[in-house]
């Protein structure tokens, strides 16, 4: 058995644990999503062109 008071005191003295951050967490950063969309947008270009669909990436000029 442990005495309630001693546990409370020990814990209160220990500031090693960032309890407040765990109790009141900031929002996590959003994970980047849609990474592949830019390349894939080419699929709706060309002959299937939709008016006002995003620009079709065009071949870059060489040289």
């Amino acid at each position: 058995m442990f005495s309630e008071e001693s546990v409370v005191r020990d814990v209160a003295q220990d500031i090693d644990i960032d309890l407040e951050a765990a109790l009141n967490p900031a929002e996590a950063e959003g994970t980047f999503r849609d990474t592949r969309e830019c390349a894939a947008l080419a699929l709706i270009g060309g002959q299937g062109a939709l008016l006002l669909s995003p620009p079709t990436p065009r071949p870059t000029k060489k040289g």
Partner: protein, 306 residues
């Protein structure tokens, strides 16, 4: 509440950039046959659609109207050679709907090319035109364009609508970039580019009212300005637009001092023609979103005539 001044400024600057870079709306007559002439019709058709919106909404200042008219005259007369380049495209690929799609907004603004009209009427009688396998949202666009041209769409607009992603109102948390573009285009076609917000079926309007705020928040955070601009158009097509302040302010802040709107994140670098191809679309979208949102916010301030 987003200020109308901010919304107006975005559209004016965008149009000034498009006007100054109008030579970017160019054809490549010597294009590789694998690419074809019609690959460069798309920006021209989009320009005509947006200028049509600007004239229709009538909220642009006289400077904007003048720029829009000069742009249209330039691409019709010089780039399309009075529509003859559309005819050439149709001769090269007779079954393609693209010359018709690009022609229609010009026709609605008073430009005419009888040969394209003949080809369109013939194509409309072909089983092939209604059978060709395209994405549901594009099929809806074709049906909507046929209706606007005065033809009886096949399939009908309602049937074409029912096949789209949006009409089925699926789980909103599955929406990623491609689906989001399908959503925006379904709304564009259903409302005739924002002219008829009342044509949005109530279940779609309600679905968008619930979830559009999330998508605006999401693509603002991702700084995908092209898509964010299209979503701002969708907002302006709703029965009760929100004119989302954070989205509009972020969108306006992304615009360059000369009016160019990057497609995502920062402004790219490159040769003038390459740069035009990269940013003309989000810049047109900016002009579109501005004209429509401005019109809706002003009409919200004015009591309906009784």
């Amino acid at each position: 509440m987003t200020s109308t001044r901010l919304i107006h400024g975005v559209g004016l600057r965008a149009l000034e950039w498009l006007h100054a870079r109008r030579d970017g709306f160019r054809l490549e007559p010597d294009a590789d046959p694998e690419v074809g002439l019609m690959d460069r019709f798309k920006p021209i058709g989009e320009l005509a659609v947006i200028c049509g919106v600007i004239f229709r909404e009538g909220v642009a200042g006289s400077r904007q109207s003048q720029l829009a008219r000069q742009l249209l005259d330039h691409v019709w007369r010089d780039t399309l050679d009075g529509g003859r380049m559309l005819v050439e495209g149709a001769r090269t690929e007779p079954i393609s709907p693209i010359p018709f799609e690009v022609y229609l907004p010009f026709r609605e603004l008073g430009y005419e090319q009888p040969d394209i009209e003949r080809a369109t009427r013939l194509n409309h009688r072909l089983g092939s035109w209604s059978a060709v396998e395209v994405l549901p949202v594009r099929r809806l666009g074709l049906s909507a364009f046929q209706r606007r041209f005065g033809l009886r769409p096949e399939p009908g607009v309602d049937e074409a609508t029912a096949r789209t992603w949006l009409a089925r109102t699926p789980e909103p948390w599955t929406v990623e970039g491609h689906i989001a573009y399908d959503i925006t285009h379904t709304v564009f076609h259903l409302t005739d580019w924002g002219e008829r917000p009342d044509r949005l079926p109530p279940h779609i309007a309600g679905y968008l009212a619930d979830w559009l705020p999330v998508w605006l928040d999401d693509w603002l955070e991702l700084r995908r300005w092209d898509l964010l601009g299209e979503l701002l158009v969708v907002d302006a097509c709703l029965p009760r637009p929100t004119f989302d302040e954070a989205a509009w302010e972020g969108f306006a802040a992304a615009q360059q001092p000369d009016g160019a709107m990057p497609a995502l994140r920062e402004m790219p670098e490159g040769e003038p023609d390459d740069l035009f191809d990269l940013v003309y679309h989000p810049t047109l979208v900016a002009a579109f979103a501005s004209a429509l949102a401005l019109s809706r916010s002003l009409s919200a301030l004015t009591p309906e005539p009784s």
